[in-house]
């Protein structure tokens, strides 16, 4: 259904998934008032139902190319790919939330509203084709996450992580916006379609336009911050460590995915004609991320910090797939994002389950002998660690393989060599976790704190998916390839 008001192209069908998620947030907001405090679990159920509704709304948009609201958003396969991924992540997060929140006495309805708000922002960001919608998406997800990282209100670390995220996030937003203002000044347009038309026009000499290049530089800083790529990663370890683990689980995968959707749309779809200008800085960011992420992760004794640095390293790998600047290479990036989401979510979900006994349990010394105390948790954690390291037959192996293949095809050697060496370095800290879990415990006592059906299911599915997709990666790769054909 398209109603045209003076050519603006109002098309609510194109943003129906985002509307359903935002609508669910409003419904939960009102339900929170009437649901008795000991029945807050119902809010989680309503949230999941709303998210399933959004999933149903997003599927029919696959394969379409529906630009709406004056070229500010689009419903295409790329948006659907990310919508499905983000909704799946959010459903899994909400499923494992009630038990954790209850254990830490954080069982408030606002949690679900904020998670839904962040998800709506991420979905908007994945569908954004204008500087305005990119900004709105980023801010919607950021502001929700600022509050969520401080959600354990009385915990000093949680407060501190919220304050750090807020201040550094605001700083990055300033750069992002200034970049957008400069791009607008240079090209006279705020839509990616208009900007691309300007840069490809022969008369514009876009590659020599200082205002435009400066703008792209500032914009990249803002996006790299959200994707937590080095050297704009400083907030990541502190925020990941201090935030409630369930929030870390959510934002470590969802924020990164959404940020890379925007990176793809901006760099590959909008600025291909001046790729010679952005190739080198992006390659540098990727190499920095690989070095800092992998090398600093070795020294970490807190598993949340270790996974934070590992996430920085993975941002580097994901960015490598953007470098060739082609849709085929971008499909490797998409596959990597999907693989990373599954395995990193799983790893953090295990940390969440362990941390339900107290946040101090994120210290690696507590993980000693986990195999004997919590055999199931330790087994799935082993799968996720092997996958993050990139050892076959897990999905992490193919994710790295496809990205490396794309680099070989594009004859990009230096970043490839760094990536291969750093992958070998990463074996140390991933395998170390497995060794620690296998080490003989001081006292053998099987813990009788049950996981609950939702958590076991989510962990089981994530573990199974990590292995099954590692044996049959073709299905997801096919989706990624079809989603990677970028439109404006």
């Amino acid at each position: 259904m398209t109603i045209n008001i003076s050519g603006i192209g109002i098309d609510y069908g194109a943003i129906l998934p985002e509307l359903v998620v935002a609508g669910t947030a409003i419904v939960v907001l009102f339900l929170e008032l009437v649901v008795p405090p000991d029945r807050r679990r119902w809010l989680a159920a309503v949230t999941v139902i709303g998210l399933l509704g959004a999933l149903v709304a997003t599927i029919p948009l696959w394969g379409q190319n529906r630009s709406a609201f004056g070229d500010t958003v689009i419903a295409d396969s790329l948006a659907v790919f990310f919508n499905v991924l983000l909704i799946a992540i959010t459903i899994a997060t909400v499923a494992i939330s009630p038990r954790y929140l209850h254990a830490l006495d954080l069982d408030y309805g606002e949690y679900y509203i904020l998670i839904l708000g962040a998800t709506a922002g991420m979905m908007l960001l994945a569908a954004a084709t204008s500087l305005m919608t990119i900004f709105l998406g980023i801010e919607l997800l950021s502001i929700s996450l600022y509050v969520l990282s401080g959600f354990a209100r009385t915990t000093l670390r949680s407060q501190e992580s919220a304050l750090k995220y807020l201040l550094l996030g605001g700083f990055a937003t300033g750069f992002l916006l200034y970049g957008m203002a400069l791009i607008y000044g240079a090209t006279g347009s705020t839509t990616l379609r208009g900007i691309a038309a300007f840069t490809t026009a022969a008369s514009s000499n876009a590659a020599g336009n200082v205002l435009l290049l400066l703008g792209i530089g500032f914009l990249s800083v803002g996006l790299a911050f959200k994707a937590s790529a080095a050297p704009f990663h400083m907030w990541t370890p502190d925020v990941y460590e201090g935030a409630p683990t369930i929030v870390t689980t959510f934002m470590s995968v969802a924020t990164k995915s959404a940020a890379f959707a925007a990176v793809g749309r901006v760099f590959i779809a909008t600025f291909p004609s001046i790729s010679s200008r952005w190739y080198f800085p992006l390659a540098l960011i990727a190499i920095f991320s690989l070095f800092i992420g992998n090398l600093v992760a070795i020294t970490q004794d807190n598993i949340k910090r270790m996974l934070a640095y590992s996430g920085i390293a993975h941002a580097g790998y994901i960015l490598l797939g953007v470098l060739p600047g082609t849709a085929q290479a971008f499909s490797a990036t998409l596959f990597y994002i999907a693989a990373y989401s599954v395995m990193n979510f799983g790893a953090f979900a295990v940390v969440t389950a362990v941390a339900a006994g107290g946040e101090q349990n994120a210290d690696l010394s507590h993980w000693r002998g986990l195999f004997y105390r919590r055999p199931f948790l330790a087994t799935v954690m082993t799968i996720f660690m092997l996958s993050l390291a990139g050892i076959p037959p897990t999905v992490g192996f193919f994710a790295k393989l496809f990205v490396f293949q794309a680099l070989v095809n594009a004859q990009i050697w230096a970043p490839l060599i760094v990536a291969v060496i750093m992958t070998i370095v990463s074996f140390y800290y991933y395998l170390r976790v497995i060794v620690i879990m296998l080490a003989a415990p001081d006292e053998v006592a099987v813990e009788k704190r049950p996981l609950g059906i939702p958590t076991s299911t989510v962990l089981g599915v994530a573990g199974l998916a990590t292995v099954v997709l590692g044996i049959f990666p073709a299905v997801v790769l096919d989706w990624a390839t079809r989603a990677a054909s970028l439109h404006f």
């Binding site: 600022y146 807020l166 201040l167 300033g174 607008y184 705020t190």
Partner: protein
Amino acid sequence: MPVPAYSFLLLSGVLFTMGAVGFLIRRNPLVVFMCIELMLNAVNLAFVAISRYLNSLDGVVFAFLVITVAAAEVVVGIAIIVQVYRAGRPMDVDDLDLMKE
């Protein structure tokens, strides 16, 4: 005599730099937060000036969006800062270092 567009951009650049430098050297979280607001307002000035210069409304609309979002950010930001203050922590970003490797 109309003021040329580049002088607005220059002013916006100066304000933005002041905000960024203030962010890096000031230590009170409230002042640091005000520096971020200064950066955002520098951006607004640039948007409006460019909008006027290009004779297009996109920049003005963008400036309104920035104002709205900045307001939302302030609401959340002040709440977080007050929460830290009420916990009896020093109002100094350098002393907020519970998490160090």
